[in-house]
C-alpha cells in the first residue's frame, strides 16, 4: 500500500456520530453548570460516551476494548477540544488506557489493573496518571488509583495513600490537585529502562492528547468569532467587514490549517512507531499550541470588550487553550526536544525524511 494521508470512511463517520452527540450534550450552558458543582463532572454524560464505545477504543480486544489506534481517535480528541468537553475523556482514552495496556502487556500488573481497564471502558475514571512532567492531576479526586512516580519509577498507589491538595485553575472546568505520595504504600510496577520507556510513551500520548484538543479549541474560537463579528455592528456595519478583523482571523485559520496534518502525523507515529514519536509529537504540540494561543488572543480582540467578560462563552475555550498549552510539556519542553534532535550531527534532515525518517539505505550521507 502506498502513501495515503487520508482518514477512512469508517473513521470519518464514527467521528461525525460522536461529534453530533457531543454538540448536543456539551453546550456552554451545561459546561457552566458543571462549574457550580463540587465534582465538575457529569457522570451521566460519561456513561453516554462510554456507551458509544469511545472509552475503550484504544484498548486491545484481548483486554476488552476495540483494539483501535491513535489515528482512529485523533479527530475525536479534536472534537472534544472543539466542544470544550470538561471531562478528561481524551486523557482517559489516549493516556490512561494505553498506559494500563502497556503495563498489562509487559506482565507488570495483575487482576487489579484489568479491573481498572473494565472501569475505564464503562466510563468511570478509576485511575489517574500523575506523570512527572505535570505538577497537577486534573480530576485527581475522581480516581481510586494513581499511576505515579519520579524519574524512571512507575508505581501504583491507592488514593488513600495520596495526599491531594486542591488547586484552582484559571479554567473553571478543570479540577486540579497536587499529589503528595506516601511512598511506603506505593506498589512499584516498573523502573530503569522499562519505567523510563513507559513514562516516555505516556508523555508522548499526553502531549498528543493536548495537541489534538488545542486544534479543536482553536477551530471553535474562530467559528465563534466569525459569528460574532458577522452580527455585531459598529460605525453602521458588521465589524467583520473590516479588513483588520478579517486578517486577524485569517492568520489564525492559516495556523490551524497547518497544525492539523502535523497532529495527524503525530497520531500516526504514536500508533505505528511509538518509540520514534518524540519529534512528531513535540512538533504537533508546538504547532497546535501556537495556533490555539494565537486564536485565544485574536478572538478576544475581535470580540472587543465582550471578549473580556465572564459572560461571553469564548472564555471557556480561551482558558482551556491557555491550560492545555502548558500541560504534558510546555512550549519550552517541546521546542527543546526538537532542538536537541536537530542539532545531532547525524539527524536525518531534508525532504526525503518527512515520513519514517529511514526510507533509503544511503540516507545518512545526504
Amino acid at each position: 500500500m502506498g502513501m495515503d494521508f487520508t482518514f477512512t470512511e469508517d473513521q470519518l463517520s464514527f467521528v461525525d456520530a460522536v461529534r453530533g452527540m457531543l454538540s448536543q450534550e456539551v453546550t456552554p450552558e451545561r459546561i457552566r453548570a458543571r462549574w457550580d458543582t463540587d465534582t465538575g463532572v457529569d457522570t451521566e454524560f460519561m456513561t453516554q460516551v462510554a456507551e458509544l464505545g469511545v472509552m475503550g477504543m484504544l484498548i486491545p480486544e484481548t483486554l476488552g476494548g476495540l483494539g483501535l489506534g491513535a489515528t482512529d481517535f485523533v479527530m475525536l480528541a479534536q472534537a472534544c477540544g472543539e466542544m470544550a468537553v470538561p471531562e478528561p475523556i481524551v486523557e482517559q482514552v489516549l493516556v490512561v488506557a494505553p498506559l494500563l495496556t502497556d503495563i498489562l502487556e509487559r506482565g507488570l500488573g495483575g487482576d487489579s489493573l484489568q479491573a481498572m481497564v473494565d472501569d475505564l471502558i464503562s466510563g468511570q475514571m478509576t485511575v489517574a496518571v500523575s506523570h512527572p512532567i505535570n505538577p497537577f492531576i486534573n480530576f485527581g479526586d475522581r480516581s481510586n488509583w494513581v499511576l505515579a512516580g519520579q524519574g524512571e519509577e512507575v508505581c501504583l498507589v491507592a488514593r488513600d495513600a495520596v495526599a491531594l491538595a486542591s488547586k484552582k485553575s484559571v479554567d473553571p472546568s478543570r479540577r486540579l490537585f497536587e499529589a503528595e505520595l506516601d511512598n511506603a504504600n506505593a506498589t512499584p510496577l516498573a523502573s530503569g529502562d522499562v519505567g523510563a520507556d513507559l513514562w516516555r510513551r505516556t508523555l508522548n500520548r499526553g502531549a498528543l492528547a493536548t495537541a489534538a484538543q488545542l486544534v479543536g479549541l482553536a477551530e471553535a474560537m474562530v467559528a465563534q468569532s466569525v459569528r460574532y463579528t458577522s452580527d455585531r455592528a459598529q460605525f453602521g456595519r458588521a465589524i467583520g467587514t473590516n479588513q483588520a478583523v478579517k486578517h486577524l482571523l485569517a492568520d489564525v485559520a492559516v495556523q490551524i490549517e497547518y497544525a492539523k496534518p502535523v497532529v495527524y502525523r503525530a497520531a500516526y507515529t504514536v500508533e505505528v512507531s511509538p518509540s520514534r514519536a518524540d519529534f512528531a509529537v513535540s512538533h504537533a504540540k508546538v504547532a497546535a499550541s501556537r495556533a490555539a494561543l494565537l486564536a485565544a488572543r485574536h478572538c478576544i480582540q475581535v470580540h472587543g470588550a465582550m471578549g473580556y467578560t465572564w459572560e461571553c462563552d469564548l472564555q471557556i475555550w480561551v482558558k482551556r487553550a491557555w491550560a492545555l498549552a502548558r500541560e504534558w510539556g510546555d512550549e519550552g519542553f517541546h521546542k527543546n526536544r526538537i532542538h536537541e534532535w536537530l542539532l545531532q550531527s547525524n539527524a536525518l534532515l531534508g525532504p526525503e525524511f518527512t515520513f519514517g525518517r529511514r526510507t533509503l539505505t544511503d540516507t545518512v550521507a545526504a
Binding site: 505535570n134 479554567d171 459598529q234 470588550a305 473580556y308 500541560e327 519550552g332
Partner: protein, 388 residues
C-alpha cells in the same frame, strides 16, 4: 537636552520615597473589584489625600502640590517602585478632575473636587453604550431638559468602577434631534439616584470590574452639566489627549513589571525555556524603557510650553502590546504552574501576580479605542493616508 534630575527633583523623589515607605500597606490590598477591596482602596485614597499626595499635579488649593509633568513621572516611578495600591479613583482624579478644573464653574469645583480628592466620592466613567463601543459618537442615552433638571434615560456599558462607585460621568444626548457628535453634554450623575440600576459585568477573572448602568427617568439638576449644554463632545476631545493617556498609563508601571520579569527570568534560566523567551525578556525591558524615554521627551516638550503632535496616537498600541508581551513571557517562564490562580500567600510568593496581570493585559488592546482603530488613526492623521 539634559537627561539628569536637578537637586530639587532629586529631593522631591526622596520625599516621595520616604513618605511611601512609611505609608504603603505592608500587605497587598484585596482587589478593588470586591466590596471589601473597594473600601480598602478608598481608605488608601484618604491616606494619600491626608499627605497631599493624592494628585501631585493639582494646585495646592485642591490638595495637590502644583507639580509639573516631570515631577509627576518621578512620583509615579516611586509609586510603582513602592508597590503602592492601584488608584481606585483614577476615573475621578485623572479623567474628570482636570476637566472640572478647566470647564467647571466655581460652584461645581467647590462641590465636587474636595470630595473627589479626599476619596469620599469615588467616580465611575460611563462613556460606552451597547451600540457605541469604539464608535463613541453613536451615543443614544438621552438627557431631556425639564425645568431646572435633566431627565436621563438609556443605558451605558463597560463603566469601570461603577459597581461600587458613588458617582458617574459621561456623555448624554441633550438635543434629541442631534446626530453623531452634536448635541451631547457631559453630565455628572449620582449612582444612588432614583431610577439608576447598576448591573455588574464580570471580567475574565470573575470579578465585576465594570458594569452596565440603566437610567430610567433619572432626574439630575442642570447644575450637574459640565461645560455647557451641547459642549460634551468638544470637552471630551479636549481632555482625551496625551495627558489623560500619560496619567492612566505611566511608564513606571511597565518598567516595574519589566524589572520583575527580568528577575523571574534570572530564576528560571536553568529551565528548559522556550528559546523565544530570552529575546522577549530583552525586548520587554528595552521597550518599557523606550516608553519611558518617549514619555519624558513629550513631558519635556509640554513643560517647555510646546504641544503634542499626532504622533501621540502611537502610545496606546505601544504600551498595550508591551503589556501583553511582558505577561505572556512571564507565563512562559512559569510553565505548567502558570495556569494556577494563586490562592495562598505561598502560591502568590511563588507565582506572583502574573496570571491576573496576564488576564488584565488582554483588555489593553481593546479599551479606549481598539488597536485596530488606533492604527487607522495613525495611518490617516499622523501619516496622512487617504480615508476612502
Amino acid at each position: 537636552m539634559n537627561l539628569g534630575y536637578s537637586d530639587s527633583q532629586q529631593a522631591f523623589r526622596e520625599e516621595v520615597r520616604d513618605w511611601l515607605k512609611a505609608h504603603v500597606p505592608a500587605q497587598a490590598l484585596p482587589s478593588f473589584d470586591t466590596e471589601e477591596g473597594f473600601e480598602a482602596h478608598r481608605a488608601w485614597e484618604r491616606t494619600l489625600a491626608e499627605g497631599n499626595w493624592g494628585m501631585v499635579t493639582w494646585p495646592e488649593a485642591y490638595g495637590g502640590r502644583g507639580c509639573d509633568l516631570i515631577e509627576w513621572l518621578i512620583f509615579e516611578e516611586e509609586y510603582y517602585r513602592a508597590g503602592a495600591p492601584l488608584r481606585v479613583n483614577q476615573n475621578g482624579i485623572f479623567l474628570l478632575g482636570p476637566t472640572l478644573m478647566e470647564y467647571g464653574t466655581e460652584e461645581q469645583k467647590a462641590r465636587f473636587i474636595p470630595a473627589m480628592a479626599s476619596g469620599d466620592e469615588i467616580w465611575a466613567q460611563a462613556w460606552s453604550e451597547p451600540n457605541a463601543g469604539s464608535d463613541m459618537a453613536a451615543i443614544r442615552c438621552s438627557a431631556t431638559r425639564d425645568g431646572d433638571d435633566f431627565v436621563i434615560n438609556g443605558q451605558k456599558i463597560w463603566s469601570t468602577r461603577a459597581v461600587f462607585a458613588d458617582w458617574g460621568f459621561g456623555l448624554f444626548r441633550t438635543d434629541p434631534d442631534s446626530e453623531r457628535h452634536h448635541g451631547l453634554s457631559k453630565i455628572l450623575v449620582p449612582l444612588n439616584a432614583d431610577g439608576v440600576t447598576v448591573r455588574p459585568i464580570r471580567q475574565l477573572n470573575g470579578l465585576p470590574g465594570f458594569a452596565e448602568i440603566f437610567f430610567d427617568d433619572v432626574r439630575v439638576p442642570a447644575f450637574n452639566v459640565l461645560g455647557g449644554e451641547g459642549e460634551g463632545w468638544r470637552i471630551a476631545m479636549a481632555t482625551a489627549g496625551f495627558e489623560r493617556g500619560l496619567m492612566l498609563r505611566s511608564p513606571a508601571r511597565f518598567q516595574q513589571a519589566a524589572k520583575r520579569l527580568v528577575r523571574l527570568y534570572r530564576e528560571h534560566t536553568q529551565d528548559l525555556l522556550d528559546p523565544s523567551v530570552e529575546d522577549a525578556v530583552l525586548r520587554c525591558y528595552m521597550d518599557a524603557e523606550a516608553y519611558a524615554l518617549s514619555t519624558y521627551q513629550t513631558a519635556s516638550k509640554l513643560v517647555g510650553g510646546g504641544s503634542i503632535g499626532p504622533e501621540a496616537s502611537c502610545n496606546k498600541i505601544f504600551w498595550s502590546e508591551l503589556d501583553l508581551l511582558i505577561h505572556e513571557t512571564a507565563m512562559k517562564l512559569l510553565g505548567a504552574r502558570g495556569e494556577l490562580e494563586p490562592a495562598t500567600p505561598s502560591e502568590l510568593q511563588e507565582l506572583g501576580p502574573w496570571l491576573d496581570g496576564f488576564l488584565f493585559a488582554q483588555s489593553g488592546p481593546i479599551y479606549a479605542g481598539t488597536n485596530e482603530i488606533q492604527r487607522n488613526i495613525i495611518a490617516e492623521r499622523m501619516l496622512g493616508m487617504p480615508r476612502k
